[in-house]
Each structure stands twice: as structure tokens, then as C-alpha cells.
């Protein structure tokens, strides 16, 4: 009987084409069919992973903006504005300027006129309304000293505060502990964000693992037959990995698009103030964040599938 099966009339032509077609059909086609068939069990994974990735994208962009704010704050904290009395004679101002410039702890010293101080204030968030509300210019002229080490700012403040050219009421911009407070707040935000995302990530991965387990369960007969007839391991496992990758990629694409859209909307809604509240966040950065969100989804989906396969698919 079996001898009848030996026909020997099938020359193996277009081998690469045939193998590629079979791989595509059984690996990708099988995964797609199974994904649609098990949409009910994949839906919770899809939604939880989308939520995770969306929040991760938003938290990531917020973190990036906060990091930039920290950099800006660090730069501002090392820039000591020495506010001058309105009636300070030029000679004394020049003398103080020379003294500061000669100080080895200071990198550079520049002079800011009252008009320049007003213009600078008008660029800060919230201050334009205040500056417009008053007829006169409330901002004093200043000597702006760029201090080499942020630790020396307090000492320089103490050196100049009693100088008779300096405003006695508000001698410098030095605010003790302000930078440290910002750092503490940023650290707190980062830790809380990381903990929240870790928790959400755990939930998303667990739900995805369960959805792949459901997929394995629904295809157990097919898997058994594939294993019995000697299908290679990658061919048995591959469709499930791809199924997880489809879930992850879809979640990543949706979340990435939302992150990108929200950022674009925020940028276009408040172009001027947005750059101050979220410095460095622009269209290319938003696109990059969306791409990272997509790639993370792809990786999370595939990785969760692999974990599920190791747990639930015995060879």
C-alpha cells in the first residue's frame, strides 16, 4: 500500500519560493488566523498593554521634559544674579564687576540692563501679564555671574550681599535649597512613575501570558499533531510568538499614535508656553517617543509569548 505512495514525480523546483510560502502560511497566516479567532481572549491583553504603553509614552515624555527642566534649573542655579541699586554709580558697578570677574570661582560675568531684565521676565511663563500690568519697569539691572561650581554660589552671595552697590532688600537671586528641592521633587516623581509603570507592566505581561495560554489551549490539537509529525520547534512555537507580537505591535501602534497626537495637540494648542513647561519636547521628539512605544509593545508582546510558551507548551 505505502509503496503506492512512492511516486517520485515531484521534482523539487522553486525550493526557496515554496519554503518561504509555507513558512509564511503556517507561521504568519496561522498566527493571524489564530489571533482573530481568539480575539476575545486577546482583547484584555490588547487593552491593558495599550494603556501601559500609552502611560509609558506620556510618562517618558514627561520625564524627558522634567530632565530638561532640571538641566535648565541647574544652569540657572549656577547663574547668580547680583541685583544693583538703581542709584549705584557706574564706577562702583564697574569695580564690583572687576572684583567678580577676578574671582577664580566665577567663570564669566555679564551686565544686564533694566530693559534686558524686563524683556527676559516677559519670556517666563506667567510673568508677561504681570509685567504688562505695571507702567514702570520693576526689574533692577544686574551683574550675572556664572559660577563654576554650584556649591560656591552661597559663599559668593555672602561676599556681595553687603556691597553698597547691591540692592539691600533683594541682593541676589540666591535661594537656599531651591535646587535641592527641585531635585527631590523630580526624584520623587521619577520613583513614583517607575513604580506605577512596573506595576502596570506586570499586569499587562500577566494578561498577555494568559491570552497566549488561551491560544495554546484552543490550538492544542493542532500543536499536538505538529509535534507528533515532527514539525520543527520554531514552527510549533513561532505562531504563538507572532500572535503575541501582533498584540504588542497593535497596542504599541495605537499607544504610539495617541502619544504622538496628544503631543502635537499640546504643542499646537500652546506653542509658546509649552516649550517653557516641557522644554525639549517637539515634533521629532514626539515621533521618536511614538517609535519607542511601538518597539516596546512589539518586544513586550513577543517576550510575554515566549514566557508563556516556556510555561505552558511542553515539547
Amino acid at each position: 500500500m505505502a509503496g503506492l505512495l512512492v511516486k517520485g514525480r515531484f521534482p523539487r523546483r522553486h525550493l526557496i519560493q515554496v519554503v518561504a510560502s509555507n513558512v509564511f502560511r503556517y507561521l504568519f497566516g496561522g498566527a493571524a488566523r489564530s489571533w482573530f479567532r481568539n480575539l476575545g481572549s486577546a482583547a484584555p491583553a490588547l487593552s491593558s498593554m495599550t494603556l501601559l504603553l500609552l502611560l509609558a509614552g506620556i510618562v517618558g515624555l514627561t520625564g524627558f521634559a522634567l530632565h530638561n527642566i532640571e538641566v535648565v534649573e541647574a544652569g540657572q542655579a549656577s547663574l547668580l544674579h547680583v541685583y544693583l541699586r538703581d542709584d549705584a554709580p557706574d564706577a562702583k558697578v564697574n569695580a564690583l564687576w572687576d572684583r567678580l570677574a577676578a574671582d577664580p570661582r566665577i567663570a564669566t560675568v555679564t551686565y544686564t540692563t533694566r530693559a534686558e531684565a524686563l524683556a527676559r521676565a516677559q519670556r517666563l511663563p506667567g510673568l508677561p501679564a504681570l509685567t504688562d500690568a505695571t507702567e514702570s519697569n520693576p526689574f533692577p539691572a544686574s551683574l550675572d555671574a556664572r559660577v563654576k561650581s554650584i556649591d560656591d554660589v552661597a559663599a559668593i552671595h555672602n561676599d556681595v550681599r553687603n556691597d553698597n552697590t547691591v540692592d539691600p532688600a533683594y541682593p541676589t537671586s540666591y535661594d537656599q535649597g531651591a535646587y535641592q528641592r527641585i531635585q527631590a521633587v523630580l526624584l520623587g516623581v521619577a520613583v513614583a512613575g517607575f513604580a506605577f509603570l512596573t506595576l502596570l507592566g506586570f499586569v499587562a505581561v500577566t494578561v498577555t501570558i494568559n491570552s497566549i495560554r488561551a491560544a495554546i489551549h484552543s490550538r492544542r490539537d493542532e500543536v499536538t499533531i505538529m509535534q507528533l509529525v515532527g514539525a520543527p520547534r520554531w514552527m510549533v512555537r513561532g505562531p504563538f510568538v507572532i500572535e503575541g507580537a501582533i498584540t504588542g505591535a497593535l497596542s504599541g501602534a495605537v499607544a504610539g499614535l495617541i502619544v504622538f497626537g496628544l503631543t502635537l495637540a499640546a504643542i499646537s494648542a500652546g506653542a509658546a508656553s509649552f516649550t517653557q513647561f516641557a522644554p525639549g519636547v517637539n515634533v521629532p521628539v514626539a515621533a521618536f517617543a511614538a517609535a519607542i512605544v511601538f518597539a516596546t509593545g512589539l518586544g513586550l508582546g513577543s517576550g510575554s509569548s515566549l514566557v508563556s510558551l516556556r510555561k505552558h507548551l511542553e515539547s
Partner: protein, 268 residues
């Protein structure tokens, strides 16, 4: 005479090369492993020994029945052959492959040489009979084109008498027909060894005879066939080799043509 070498010629053939120094002549002796060989195989599940020191060999074209009461170790033996299990001790050789030491990643190589037929057919309900057979062919060998898979699947179905039912789904076929499809799926890859676990368990007696005739045909074409069964009538009528397992031990190995007493029935 001095032994000068031991060389593997192929996966299941090993040659010893010896030199007779009195007459300077080389002697070569080759040993061809049987398709299936179990050497002192023991398999235990915890403290319970399911298979105890079993040794046997099966040659190409041989059809043997594996009989014994429930729990005798028949299914365990089939699972060891198919490398669903590893033996606790001993060796399992299948077509030259050492199943007892086989890495998990190489199991598919062995499975492509061992066809399996089950009592419950294990057909995919969403596929037609022809697609079920073609599926097995293609997933075990990705070089098989759709056209080749379809034709070979139809040939296999034709060989089991179902050439006209290729488009039928399993639910549209009787139990006997489904088992024939399972048999066609098993032999379509032309494996050297076929194992069957109670293949007639769900079939009526007439259909069982037809199935057994097909197994005999397969054996006649050179495939070694090992059938685990409870069906005494079939074992008696076919007069083939009978391996009797009782409590995990191979208590009798009757050659073909002598059925003898079925002592195991008393404890079945």
C-alpha cells in the same frame, strides 16, 4: 587477530575492522541496527515501575502486536519510542537515533521517522481529510509545495480507500473512515516505523479487520509496524509476532505464526 577500528558507516550501521596478523588480511564485520531496538529499558514514575528491563527489536517490514492488561506499560513503551518520555535507564534506538539521549531540539528528527496512530484519531476538525493529510506532510517538510502535498495526500487517501472523500470534514466521516484518514496522515511521509495505540478501540469488528488489513499492507511495503491492542480476535487471526507485557515486564515474545495462550487475559 587485532581490532584496528570501530567505524560508524551510517546512523544505524556500525562496522568493526580487524587485522589477522598471521595472514595480513583485514576482516570487516558490520552491524545494522534494527528499525526499533530497546535494550534493558526501565521507566519508573516515582516509586512505580511502568516498564521493567524490557529488551526487544523490530525489523523493517515486521508487524508486531503489543498486548497486555491495562497498566501493563504498553502506552509507556510507545511514548518512549516516540520520545514523549525518556527511559529511567536503558537504551531506545529508533532508525539509528538514540532516543534515550536525544536532546529536545532534535526530537522532531525522530518524530519524522515514527508515525503514530491513536485510538481517538486526532484529526483537525476545521480541515478536510485531504487537508489533514497535507498539513502533516507540509509541517514536517517545508519543501513540499501545495501541489505536491495535495497530490500525495490524495494518493494516501486513495491507498486507504478514501480517495473520493478528500473534501469531507472529519465530522462528515464515520469512525472507521476517520481512522483511515489518520492512517493516511501517518504513512504519507513514508516513515520507517509506525506505532499505533489501540487503533481499533473505537471501531466495530468489520471496520477493525479492514484497518488491520491496511496495517498489514503498510508492513508489506517495508515499514515496521507496532500495534498496541486489547483485541484478542485480531491478534489470533493475524498470526503475527506478539509481545506480551505484564506489570511492565516483557513476559513473552512469540514469533509470527504462533499465537499461543493469552495468559495476560486472565489479569486483564
Amino acid at each position: 587477530m587485532a581490532l584496528t577500528g570501530r567505524r560508524p558507516v551510517s546512523e544505524n550501521t556500525q562496522c568493526l575492522i580487524a587485522l589477522d596478523q598471521a595472514f595480513p588480511v583485514y576482516f570487516v564485520s558490520c552491524y545494522v541496527r534494527p528499525i526499533l531496538e530497546l535494550n534493558a529499558v526501565t521507566r519508573a514514575y516515582g516509586p512505580r515501575v511502568a516498564l521493567d528491563d524490557v529488551s526487544l527489536a523490530l525489523e523493517p517490514g515486521e508487524l508486531a502486536f503489543l498486548v497486555g492488561p491495562s497498566g501493563a506499560g504498553k502506552t509507556t513503551m510507545l511514548k518512549l519510542i516516540n520520545r514523549e518520555l525518556r527511559p529511567t535507564s536503558g537504551e531506545v534506538w529508533v532508525d539509528g537515533i538514540a532516543a534515550h539521549t536525544l536532546k529536545t531540539s532534535r526530537v522532531p528528527d525522530l518524530r519524522r521517522r515514527v508515525a503514530v496512530v491513536f485510538q481517538d484519531y486526532k484529526l483537525l476538525p476545521r480541515l478536510t481529510a485531504q487537508e489533514n493529510v497535507a498539513f502533516a506532510l507540509q509541517v514536517s517538510d517545508l519543501r513540499v509545495s501545495n501541489e505536491e502535498a495535495s497530490e500525495r495526500a490524495l494518493d494516501a487517501l486513495d491507498a486507504v480507500g478514501l480517495g473520493d472523500r478528500g473534501e469531507s470534514f472529519p465530522s462528515q466521516l464515520s469512525g472507521g473512515q476517520q481512522q483511515r484518514v489518520a492512517l493516511a496522515r501517518a504513512v504519507v511521509t513514508q516513515p520507517p516505523l509506525l506505532i499505533a495505540d489501540e487503533p481499533t478501540g473505537n471501531l466495530d469488528i468489520d471496520t477493525s479487520w479492514e484497518m488491520m488489513d491496511l496495517f498489514a499492507d503498510i508492513a508489506a511495503s517495508g515499514t515496521a509496524v507496532l500495534i498496541a491492542t486489547h483485541n484478542v480476535e485480531i491478534v489470533k487471526r493475524f498470526q503475527r509476532r506478539v509481545l506480551t507485557l505484564v506489570q511492565g515486564r516483557l513476559v513473552r515474545d512469540q514469533p509470527a505464526g504462533r499465537t499461543g495462550r493469552m495468559a495476560w487475559l486472565a489479569s486483564s
